[in-house]
């Protein structure tokens, strides 16, 4: 199951009437939205939305029936067990970071970012950047992990030679295992104009 589907499922499951709706679905052969609404004292639109969402997620099946030529849907359970299985590794941004580590970068001129050192340790604890224009301009503080702080501490200055991400990681003693989080902060700071890519 992908994360988006799981999130949608979770959102509907968290409704206080969700368990009662499923209880009806388990006990009834099939049921309509108006029957659910009247049985649980819900608005018909609420019941309709819930049943439609469960149908779109493949948990229910709906069948069109006619009552005095007026069509409506009856819903029944497609399966009686729901397993939520999410592979978090699929969220890894850079599945093969080696290629991205050869990107040459340095700090941008006049980036206006403010780096805060972790007391006297040779790494930064946070970076503050300005976002927006004019009166809407506001500060955004990004707290850094220790590998990110060490990496940014060794980022070449705006007039220095560009270095590859791998070279900076080596210089700052950051292990390759931290590549995804380094690439994440580089991408973010690149988007905010703090880091320049050659």
């Amino acid at each position: 199951m992908d994360f988006e589907t799981a999130a949608k499922l979770g959102a509907y499951f968290s409704k206080d009437y969700a368990e009662e709706v499923f209880r009806l679905l388990v006990n009834y052969k099939d049921i309509s939205a108006s029957e659910v609404a009247s049985r649980l004292n819900l608005h018909i639109q609420t019941a309709q939305d819930f049943l439609e969402a469960m149908t779109s997620l493949g948990i229910l099946i709906k069948k069109e029936v006619y009552e005095k030529k007026r069509p409506y849907f009856r819903y029944s359970l497609k399966k009686k067990k729901i397993a939520m299985d999410i592979d978090l590794a699929s969220l890894l941004k850079q599945k093969q970071p080696e290629g991205k580590l050869s990107k040459k970068i340095r700090e941008s001129k006049d980036s206006e970012a403010r780096f805060t050192t972790a007391r006297y340790d040779p790494y930064f604890s946070s970076v503050v950047i300005w976002i927006g224009e004019g009166r809407d301009r506001k500060e955004r503080k990004i707290n850094l992990t220790i590998p990110q702080g060490k990496f940014l501490f060794h980022l070449p200055f705006p007039t220095a030679e560009f270095l590859t991400i791998a070279e900076i990681m080596q210089k700052s003693g950051v292990h390759k295992i931290h590549s995804p989080e380094i690439l994440d902060i580089v991408e973010l700071l690149e988007n905010y104009g703090v880091i320049k890519v050659k």
Binding site: R114, Y120, F124, L152, F153, H154, F157, T159, S172
Partner: protein, 259 residues
């Protein structure tokens, strides 16, 4: 060889010229009118303005206090001829208080002047080999290099540099920070982001930070990473001299930075 400093002149440099000008004006006025009230009032105003400007720059209250005492003292010297309740009897205590304040605050006043003068020398030494001017200022510390020294060596070096008032040394558990500034006084113990420093950590990492104020004191926008690297080299060299017992060379080299 005469080398020109890449730094703008210190604000305090106007002092001796201003004193000469005001005394000359006072003498001329005294010869013409018998008393020099206008020159004395201008001279007093100069002291007060200088005190405010220096306080604003260094954040040391000493400058403001001395400026106000000497400025109003100079006014007092002439005002006693025009204001009935002011006299020689009120002027003498004013002079005593002013001189007393100068004596009491002398360690701070002189200490800061010496630190500032040495900071200028350090920046002059660092800028000697920087010829490019492409700016690139950032308030991030510059990771200069990694070298070898023992904890005792670096602490001894910090004590030497602090004792000679070349820098204000801050000894921490994890690092030794040598702070210096041409703006906010290191004696004020400000946030390190506001002043320049070179830090030596226990792992042998050396990082250099140059404050925006100090960088702006340069006439040209010198290439920032080169300036930081050069400043790091100066301190590395001084540390090597110290390790070899050649402390005298540090003083001689520092003196060569006076321009």
């Amino acid at each position: 060889m005469i080398r020109k400093s890449k730094l703008r002149g210190p604000i305090g440099r106007v002092g001796p010229y201003a004193v000469t000008v005001f005394i000359s004006l006072g003498l001329i006025e005294a010869v013409i009118t018998g008393k020099p009230p206008y020159s004395a009032f201008a001279f007093g105003g100069f002291f007060i303005v200088l005190g405010i400007v220096e306080y604003h720059r260094t954040k040391l209250i000493t400058y403001l206090m001395l400026g106000l005492l000497f400025g109003t003292g100079t006014w007092h010297s002439m005002a006693r001829f025009f204001v009935s309740f002011l006299s020689l009897e009120t002027y003498i205590p004013h002079v005593i208080v002013s001189l007393g304040a100068l004596v009491l605050t002398w360690p701070v006043f002189y200490g800061n002047e010496k630190l500032e003068s040495n900071a200028r020398k350090l920046f002059n030494l660092a800028s000697e080999h920087v010829h490019e001017a492409s700016n690139g200022f950032t308030d991030r510390p510059y990771s200069a290099c990694k070298t070898e020294y023992t904890r005792e060596e670096i602490r001894g070096f910090a004590r030497f540099m602090g004792g000679k008032e070349i820098v204000k040394s801050i000894v921490q558990e994890k690092a030794v920070v040598l702070a210096f500034s041409m703006g906010i006084s290191p004696l004020k113990e400000p946030d390190l982001q506001q002043i320049s420093y070179v830090s030596f950590d226990n792992e042998g990492n050396i990082s250099v930070h140059i404050s925006e104020y100090d960088y702006n004191r340069f006439k040209q926008e010198l290439t920032f990473d080169q300036l930081c690297a050069s400043l790091g080299d100066v301190f590395m060299r001084f540390l090597e001299y110290y390790k070899k017992g050649l402390e005298g060379r540090i003083i001689i080299e520092l003196k060569s930075g006076a321009k």
